[in-house]
């Protein structure tokens, strides 16, 4: 499951395998904080965060690749041209908590309902809705600004 998740987000076999190792290193390094129960949610969430961090690192080195995933998010948020969306993404996420990017991916890329996102990230549904509303407002403001 973790490898498939990393492949889907990163689109590169070797990067996905490296990310999969990162996921297990992160989780097992904090083994004393783990508790019994369904581990798939923790694995999925950690894999998503690891991949988003790798995508952010790529964006700081644009010659390394294209942030396809974040472009998809922007495309779902508004049918703007991909190039315009890509240009807006830096400003869109720059001052947001990491969980906002996670919420955006889960809802807009993975098609989770607001309730499912809330359960996944441990927030209230209204909290998730507010974060997404703020992102949409921010994207709209970026697009109307000169």
């Amino acid at each position: 499951m973790v490898l498939r998740r990393c492949r889907k987000l990163l689109g590169d076999e070797q990067a996905a395998r490296d990310a999969m190792h990162d996921v297990f290193v992160q989780i097992l390094s904090r083994a004393d904080e783990l508790h019994d129960g369904a581990p798939s949610s923790l694995l999925f969430r950690t894999a998503t965060n690891v991949c988003l961090n790798r995508i952010r690192a790529r964006r700081r080195r644009p010659e390394d690749g294209d942030p396809e995933l974040l472009v998809q998010i922007a495309a779902h948020t508004d049918p703007a041209a991909r190039s315009a969306a890509r240009a807006a993404l830096d400003a869109l996420f720059r001052h947001e908590p990491e969980t906002t990017a996670l919420i955006a991916v889960l809802h807009l890329h993975d098609d989770m309902t607001l309730e499912e996102v809330a359960a996944e990230v441990g927030m209230s549904v209204s909290g998730v809705r507010k974060r997404l509303h703020k992102l949409r407002t921010k994207l709209h403001a970026l697009e109307v600004s000169p």
Binding site: L28, S41, R94, E96, M112, E120
Partner: protein, 268 residues
């Protein structure tokens, strides 16, 4: 009948469908779901056949052990610096310790002035250069690649968050380690304490500003960082105080980037 997203099929394959998704699974086409679950399980089996688990587990365990060793080495390196302070050759380190033991600097952003018996909470920044360290004063000029070590003085406060804002508007959390850390993780030591890791400056322009936000009750890390993030896009982000709730104290140290020395004399 609706088609399920991949992540939910994965959960179904593991019999770990979350409560919030059960209705969705029940509405799905059972034939399609069974087929996709079977495909996931086939893919798992094929992956394990192609890439046996044992070598991957060994690599992961080796990385965890290596990271643990690195943490131990960092602790030993700090202990070596303290050891240097006892040798006659380490005059610079002794000088730094003497500076740190002196009275704390003024606290221009202190919202609860009047309680100074233990000094104001503040940060000290040091630049590593080989085996020596150099204390960085307000508006000291720094360069990309400089390695900065922070040390905090709690000044009688019990909880704190340390974050930085750079000239590109990026906010970095230095203490506690994670933004999702519980409020209790913001507890700070009563004695002067160095952060466990040094910080290498990147090529962000103009300035790097470190904030020390303190209180006598646990702090919400995310909300505290939100105040720093709110400052980032403002034109006066180099100088303005954070907008914090009553009861929180703040202190900041600004370092200038080498390509903008002209602003060196500006007061905080």
């Amino acid at each position: 009948m609706t088609s399920l997203p991949d992540w939910l099929v994965e959960r179904a394959a593991l019999d770990e469908v979350p409560a919030a998704s059960r209705d969705r699974v029940e509405r799905a086409d059972p034939g399609e779901l069974a087929s996709r679950v079977a495909a996931v399980r086939d893919d798992d089996a094929a992956e394990i056949a192609r890439h046996p688990v044992a070598p991957a587990v060994a690599q992961i365990e080796a990385r965890i052990a290596a990271e643990s060793r690195q943490r131990t080495q960092r602790r030993r390196r700090r202990a070596r610096w303290l050891g240097l302070a006892t040798s006659a050759a380490a005059t610079i380190v002794i000088a730094r310790l003497a500076i740190e033991g002196s009275a704390p600097p003024p606290d221009p952003d202190d919202q609860t002035q009047g309680v100074r018996a233990k000094g104001a909470p503040h940060l000290l920044a040091f630049r590593h250069a080989g085996d020596t360290i150099e204390r960085l004063a307000e508006d000291a000029v720094v360069r990309a690649g400089d390695v900065i070590q922070l040390r905090y003085h709690a000044g009688g406060q019990r909880y704190g968050v340390i974050a930085s804002l750079d000239g590109a508007g990026l906010v970095t959390l230095h203490f506690p380690e994670r933004e999702d850390a519980p409020p209790d993780a913001t507890a700070i030591a009563p004695r002067p304490t160095a952060l466990p890791d040094a910080y290498a400056l990147d090529a962000a322009p103009r300035f790097e500003r470190f904030f020390f936000i303190t209180a006598n009750s646990p702090l919400d890390v995310s909300r505290t960082l939100a105040a720093v993030r709110a400052l980032a896009p403002r034109d006066d982000s180099e100088t303005a105080p954070l907008a914090l709730p009553p009861g929180l104290r703040q202190w900041s140290l600004r370092l200038r980037k080498a390509d903008h020395p002209a602003l060196h004399q500006e007061s905080p």
